[in-house]
Amino acid sequence: MFGRQKIDFFHIRLILALAVLSAAIISYEIQLIHFFTIVQWHHFAFMVISIAMLGFGASGTIISIFRKWLLERKDTLLPFLMISSGLLMTVVIRLSRSDFFIFDSYTLFVDRSQFSRLLGTYFLFFLPFFSGALAIGLIFVKKVSKIGTYYFSDLVGAGMGGILTIFLFWKFTPQEIPSIIAFLPIFAGVVIIRKKARLVLISFTILCLSVVVYQLNRPFDLAPSQFKGVSYAMNLPDAKINHEISSPYGLLQVVSSPVLRYAPGLSLTYTEVVPPSSVIFNNGDWYASIPPWSKKDTTHLLNFTTMALPYALGPQNSVLLFNSGAGLEISQALFNGAQQITAIEPNEIVISLLKNDYATITDSLFFHPNVQVHALESRTFLNQTHKKYDLIQLPLLGTFGGTVGLNALQEENLLTEEAFTEMWYKLNQNGLIAISSWIDYPSKISLKNAATIASSLESSKIIDPLSHIAAIRSWGTITFIVKRSSLNKTDIENIKIFCDKYNFDPILLPEIKTVDRVQYNTMEDGNFFFNLEGMFSAQRKKIINTYDFNIHPATDNKPYFYQFLRWKKFPNLIKSLGQKSTAYIELGYFIVVVTFIQVIILALLFIILPLFRLGWKGGNKTWVALYFCALGFGYIFLEIVFIKYFILYLGHPIYSVATVISVMLISSGLGSYYSSRLKAQRKTLLKITGIIAGFILAYSFFIGDFLSSTVGLNIEFKIGISCLLIALPAFFMGMPFPIGLKIVYKMKKSNVPWAWGINGCVSVISTSLAAIIALELGFMVVMLFASAAYTIAFLSNYILIRKY
């Protein structure tokens, strides 16, 4: 037991250990996302880690069932669990790379043997979280009377863990990070070792430390799936990795091979040699091709693609390029005589590479006096700039040969109706917006592009949109241009000449004939042209509503451009494509739903199982379940929406996320600490949950407009505003959990671990659920759901027995 003389001292040590352990768990979770994104795809990180995080729910279940036994041994168990968590963090990741466990997510839906490996992977990564969560749960259960302080420590530790991870990503390799993190729980465990079993625990610590040090010196295999882009590149003759940089932006690798060439959708009239170029891979996926430069260059490769269409209409002096990557489009703009090129690239590592190591190869492209490169989110720049441009060019969209739905969950703030409208007003009198995509079949991207353009022009009160638009296609790509003024005869003539020269076909052009559309390239999709034109007619809504895929324009509220799945049409897809194929058609969304179902089943199991031990009645279980579920949903829903909003607002994704998480958790931690002064009673809960629900409800309606109106301010102001907006509700949101737990303790102390488990399970469920709600209904609705969750928490207090 905790002796009187040592209580204070041990209390401080325990608080410290808890904070360090929480930091390690969050840090480990984030690095796992990083790890899975490199070796597989981040969707599978979502799936595996969701299950692993249920370790928190499972810990509640175990403590509920074996409460007495565990508490009797807590002095030994607490350090043991913390140290074990550290050991497991480093060991399981290596084990997951062994032949026995390694799975390939790509073949998951076609090879059933992969499922047993996936289950094994679930189990492996479940262990460190379970071990750590069991320790945290035991502390909470034992220290309910001081839960405000311990919860504060947990939240602040978690907040610091987020910041720590960003530091680790800059300083260490993906193989080193798990072992570095593993030191933290071991340290936490050592801090709270007491006399009892000291020898055994110290011996165990030494053993664990030896394993961690060994792991640090013997990095595990980080080979990505053989189906990832970098694996293909490395199979090519004389392929080598010239640079490898690990950072919060991902694992960036620059691969060169004499046979690695990039010429997207090159015209069949091109007769020169396509020169080899180095390729930048981020997390094993193609990111950008570094444009090679030579004094002998007489032409630019991209001038032989549909992407050169804007330049066919005349010189473009001021050019704005979004997501400019390694600068291929910059070099094209320069080649075509642009005088002022503004390039926006959010990955600062890529910019740094091009400015340093690859400056010579690219003829110092990023230092050219006509070029300005900004490391920023493209949409944030668009919101901030007051300049007007002759040409605004978006990057080539879609996976070559068509998207497979893997980007379904990726917010594309640049491809929304509102973004197009903003671009429209940033154009000079004769300015152009150019957007190109790979041709996909069944057509999704090109039709959604058309729908977005049409919708945006409609909101800008353009009466005759087709007079402003031209679209052309090659064998592989489609390019749309939207002109601020109407296309004149010269423009139309220039487009036709350009198409003839390069074997392209105009597909949208004033007064075009059907035969002109298929002069060089024909396609099997007979309805494509009808649907394309229909986007600019009164038929648009009807076509969109009846199409097999979701081609509704993306909006700022639902910026999921690549989400094409329509559940209504899903049975049709299965019928025509087959079960296996359908899974691959819209893989991203499919995985979220699969994850959600898995998590729900397991969570229910973890929540219900303790009831066989605790009994179904007693201790106001209905309230406990309702209240702690509501808190879990509310907190995570709001946090996810905050992250989405503030990435766009602040413009730097990594630092925006760090700001949101740290400010939110630390504020909640302070709220939790402050809650120690409040009386643990129904009245207090009613007040606090009421305030939170009101706050979030108000935010739902005003935050979007408020952020839009202040997005042009200096970054310092914006950070200040962000902190304030996040901290206010977050402070209050830190209170309901510790106060609620105290009330549970007063009612029936054996229900405390159950409540803790419920909260843990629901936090994981709400992550998948928030993604699904955002995809289907938008961010604002997620926020309304957060408010509704706290309202339920508020209302649930009315079924709480009045004496509490």
Binding site: P264, V274, Q410, T522, K580, S581, I640, S656, V764, S768
Partner: protein, 271 residues
């Protein structure tokens, strides 16, 4: 307790130009996802294989015949020479030993290095679409296992095939020599440049997906010639492109939605 929101991975993953890999498979016309049907098929397949162990070649012949009837003719391939070639080429000798039992299944199979032997229907479709004639000289880019070249060699006079990955080239060359395909020439080189000294060709089949059609291949295609090329990144192909050269003009046709689902029995790392 606090759980980091998992949907928030995007701050670590800035893959705006995400590339994911598919390949081709024409399941959509006959494969209706009837799971029981699949299990039955597997059981029948295994049964047939076991009962024909003693008369192996005849057993495979039965499987080939079934493959041609149910997977190829049923999907509309009619060219007699193509069907005859598929009936005679021992596909099971072109797949890794561990996949022999699946050689005649309606799916592609891994051959290592992220590469595959195409689904039988795709091989048939690509062969038929170039309208091969006896006196044709055909260039294939992407030898892989050598199966497509072997099918072509049954129909035309000479087949030239290029493989960029040395290990695959060595294996394919040996395999084709062992099987006495003496009208096939194999080269380990970059397919981008084609095989200029052997050109021009009546037809070109590109079995490795590309993001562009290499200009040298167009040059080496005879006037009136046909080229079939899967367009897409190496494992994400979703359409086959037919390129035709007529009187110096080049025309293309996006032929079909195709998809490649690799059938595997074990995870392999890099190979």
């Amino acid at each position: 307790m606090y759980v980091f929101p998992l949907s928030n991975y995007d701050f670590l993953n800035l893959d705006y130009k995400w590339h994911f890999h598919f390949e081709f498979n024409a399941y959509y016309s006959t494969f209706n996802g009837v799971y029981i049907h699949m299990i039955m098929n597997k059981l029948i397949l295994i049964f047939i294989l076991i009962t024909t162990l003693c008369i192996q070649d005849d057993g495979y012949k039965v499987l080939r015949e079934k493959m041609v009837n149910t997977q190829i003719i049923a999907r509309g391939v009619q060219d007699a020479s193509t069907l005859a070639a598929l009936r005679s080429v021992p596909r099971h000798k072109f797949v890794p030993k561990r996949y022999k039992v699946y050689a005649y299944q309606d799916s592609p199979l891994q051959i290592g290095y992220g590469q595959t032997i195409s689904q039988p229907y795709i091989v048939a479709f690509m062969t038929e679409i170039i309208k091969p004639q006896k006196d044709f000289k055909i260039l294939e880019i992407g030898t892989g296992s050598g199966y497509q070249a072997a099918v072509l060699a049954k129909i035309v006079d000479s087949v030239y095939t290029i493989e960029i990955i040395e290990e695959l080239y060595i294996n394919a060359k040996k395999r084709l020599e062992d099987l006495n395909y003496d009208n096939i020439s194999v080269k380990n080189a970059d397919g981008y440049y084609g095989w200029e000294e052997k050109g021009p060709f009546d037809a070109i089949i590109v079995t490795a997906a590309a993001e562009f059609v290499p200009p040298p291949l167009l040059e080496q295609l005879k006037n009136g010639g046909r080229m079939i090329i899967p367009v897409g990144t190496p494992f994400t192909t979703q359409q086959l492109l037919l390129v035709q050269k007529k009187k110096g003009k080049i025309k293309t046709k996006n032929l079909m939605f195709v998809r490649f689902v690799p059938f595997t029995r074990s995870a392999t790392k890099g190979k």
